[in-house]
Symmetry: C2
Subunit: 272 residues, 2 copies
């Protein structure tokens, strides 16, 4: 898509840069938004970062990430709730309207238990998030992460959870990397739109072959995901927000980040 004002970049995408450099470079490249990963805030005064983002003319789209709720151990579930309260407070301080949730899973218990604990935890946090003015987005993760990263692995599962929690402050983050393979994708994206729950839209690509479970995401256009088709479904479902580029890549992180950013902008124009 040509409209760079809808381009948002996740700080993790250019991980070798610190938050200040990322802000400056994203703005210079013409992006309209930034999503801040919490590690980028380490040792920073959050009010200063907030001001720098505003001064650069960028919109803070979300922070990444909260979640990791389930555990066989009740004390760990309680600790996760506390941690997520801090994440919400930090997002509010930064002026981020949204926290993306990687919901978690505990391989030592059935997935059904993990899913129930996720719903319980988010339902408990929802009123607090509303009070802070920060929305929460359940991100379905690819089924290859169902062991230990998330028990929510399809749009249907995320929609079911969001519908059950029934808070205006709880919705879904649609990331093409996790859900592109799903035969029910178009239907469930439409349903998510009908529920008013599409809170975010993330893009990257699936490399063929993919060489690492976590750190080999592709730039848009270099893999097999039908990104423009999925963006079409998301927009048909009513979404008009930022299109967020979120790429974890050992390969790209090892190269020149300024050049990588140029390629991101080019790929955004040609393949999103």
């Amino acid at each position: 898509m040509e409209d760079l004002s809808r381009l948002c970049i996740h700080t993790v995408t250019t991980k070798p840069w610190d938050i200040e450099r990322s802000i400056d470079e994203y703005a210079r490249a013409g992006a309209g938004g930034i999503t801040v990963w919490r590690d980028a805030l380490a040792g920073r005064n959050i009010t200063d970062v907030r001001r720098r983002i505003a001064d650069a003319g960028l919109t803070t789209v979300s922070t990444c990430r909260g979640g990791f709720f389930p555990s066989v151990d009740a004390s760990k579930r309680k600790a996760a709730l506390e941690e997520n309260r801090e994440v919400i407070a930090e997002a509010a301080e930064l002026g981020a309207p949204l926290v993306v949730l990687v919901c978690g899973a505990d391989p030592k218990q059935p997935l059904t238990d993990s899913r129930a604990q996720i719903v319980d935890a988010i339902a408990e946090l929802a009123p607090e998030a509303e009070k802070a003015g920060v929305k929460l987005a359940i991100e379905p993760l690819h089924p290859m992460y169902a062991d230990a990263k998330s028990a929510i692995n399809t749009m249907k599962s995320a929609n079911d959870a969001a519908e059950q929690i029934a808070s205006d402050f709880v919705g879904v983050a649609v990331d093409v990397y996790h859900i592109w393979w799903d035969p029910d994708l178009e239907t469930e994206i439409a349903r998510c739109g009908d529920l008013g729950k599409i809170f975010a839209f993330h893009v990257c690509d699936w490399r063929v072959p993919t060489r690492d479970f976590l750190l080999d995401r592709g730039l848009m256009g270099e893999g097999c995901i039908e990104i423009p088709t999925i963006r079409g479904w998301v927009e048909k479902a009513g979404f008009t927000g930022f299109v967020e580029v979120e790429i974890f890549s050992t390969e790209y992180w090892s190269g020149d980040q300024a050049e990588f950013l140029e390629r991101i902008v080019e790929a955004f124009k040609l393949h999103v």
Copy 2:
């Protein structure tokens, strides 16, 4: 489960052994069945192998594998059909009642196209398979293989395809490794049983973490798959056939195979 007469082992599980050694060792270990991977037949007289399996008191459960139907290139699709005719003929010669299909996917075209080509190809082969007395089992593969190995990635998708093809000789192979994460699993296994389509049941485990996309499958009990639960669903759906151990593992292949086979038998008794 205690009943070893229902234990079937895939030759690929003990890949360092040749087919003759595998037959002898599986029989000695008390297994009732063997599934023969085609690479194990290279350079062999198939009638001799068939006799050796019978003499050892084993049942040939299936051969692996046919499939890989879709392509943007029509001549490649035609070649795949020819190849699968040979696979069916070979299975008939071996006395195998079933061929397992890894259906294929072409990352250069939409998944919907690949799925349509899969259904077309299997529908074309079904009468020939029936004539040969060999059934075909669509195996849904984990979504991490949706790029190039299979466009059929859930039990629902496999059920839909088998139902559409509507041949008594076309059904589904249920492999826990590929589908354990699916929230609709119980429902779709029941549906598969209602359709009379559960043709095979494969087990292994999902390691946490999994270190390789293909060759790091776990022995039953060392991962997070709820194997006894899933076996219960499959049997509730009417399946009474072999429980097939199919493990691809660089780690296990590099060790002593006789010791590995002992561990398989033990794991089968304790964790299936």
